[in-house]
Symmetry: C2
Subunit: 198 residues, 2 copies
């Protein structure tokens, strides 16, 4: 029915996470009916981001500047470094403005299955940042998966000879979590990490 241009736009939107063919078609219609207020601004925003997109040479975040907004923000404590597997993890922590320091993105996690080795991740650059002596604390914020934890243990070994405080995210019950609905692994972690009642 629609022209090749409109079909191409529908396909491009349908490939975004959270969109399928049907919702993409609805979004396209929305855009077509709002050329000035919706289609134009979205096109302009995409163009601006595409033109300036950069991977931060310091931390691995994606942004429109290098160094990124976080690395160049003087209010962010450069002595505290949070190491994450992926940019999406950095963004998840930033959504809640949870961490006042800076980040280091590994670009994945060690995986024997997928053949991901230490040299495939941004580990040497992490060591270099820490060895530079500007860092007091490194938070290992890996995912609570087998591969995430393997990666955290590997990093802990690599970093132990440096004079930094190494911490990791607490494992346990999620906020609002009901015991009856949690998997055994989470329960086991929570029990193992039990602490005195204040």
């Amino acid at each position: 029915m629609a022209s090749p241009e409109i079909e191409a736009l529908t396909s491009a939107l349908a490939r975004l996470p959270g969109f399928g063919p049907r919702s993409a078609r609805r979004a396209v219609l929305h855009l077509l009916k709002r050329r000035e207020s919706s289609l134009g601004p979205l096109r302009a925003a995409l163009t601006a981001v595409e033109e300036r997109l950069a991977t931060c040479g310091t931390c691995g975040n994606v942004d429109t500047t290098d160094p990124c907004a976080i690395c160049s923000d003087p209010r962010r404590d450069p002595r505290s470094l949070c190491v994450v597997e992926d940019v999406s993890d950095l963004w998840a922590l930033e959504r809640g403005r949870l961490f006042p320091g800076r980040f280091h993105v590994l670009g994945g996690r060690l995986s024997a299955l997928e053949g991901v080795r230490p040299e495939d991740l941004a580990i040497n650059s992490l060591i270099a940042r820490v060895a530079g002596g500007q860092v007091d604390e490194v938070v290992l914020a890996m995912n609570a998966t087998l591969e995430g934890q393997t990666t955290a243990h590997y990093l802990a070994e690599r970093l132990e000879k440096h004079r930094v405080r190494l911490t990791q995210l607490a494992h346990g019950l999620p906020v609002g979590g009901e015991l009856d609905y949690l998997d055994e692994g989470t329960l086991a972690q929570a029990l193992r990490a039990r602490r005195p009642v204040a």
Copy 2:
């Protein structure tokens, strides 16, 4: 956290139907990580559509050509005209390729409440198309709402002096149902069982 450009892109996406702030952020991250395969193509598709976007002077559809792809398709029967309230209804029918003729988009429905009068809709152009003598059948495919049906009755009165077969979508549409939200099966049934306007 993110740069103004990335925030602007997130806001623009968050205003699309089916998206909220959180899913927009996820989509932006997806785009940033796939500059060549995802961000570029989406920006190019939006640009192409924006540059060529046109409202069809014949039927009122939005497309990248005028006349639109439907009006200029020689395989579509020009003697059979399906009148819809809105472009979204046309698209809903086209999703299932349900109607082999052509369309006429009114651009709304009569509404005393919202002050929408006949002269606010593309009714004169509909009468002109029918009076041209090229049309055998007019299908009134209004929504099964009070206002949709009022509009259909009004159009039936205006068209009865012309030599066309007037039909309407079979009732069996759920009360209050809007075409754009119905599944294709229901739409196909309703179209197949269309009957003469009394």
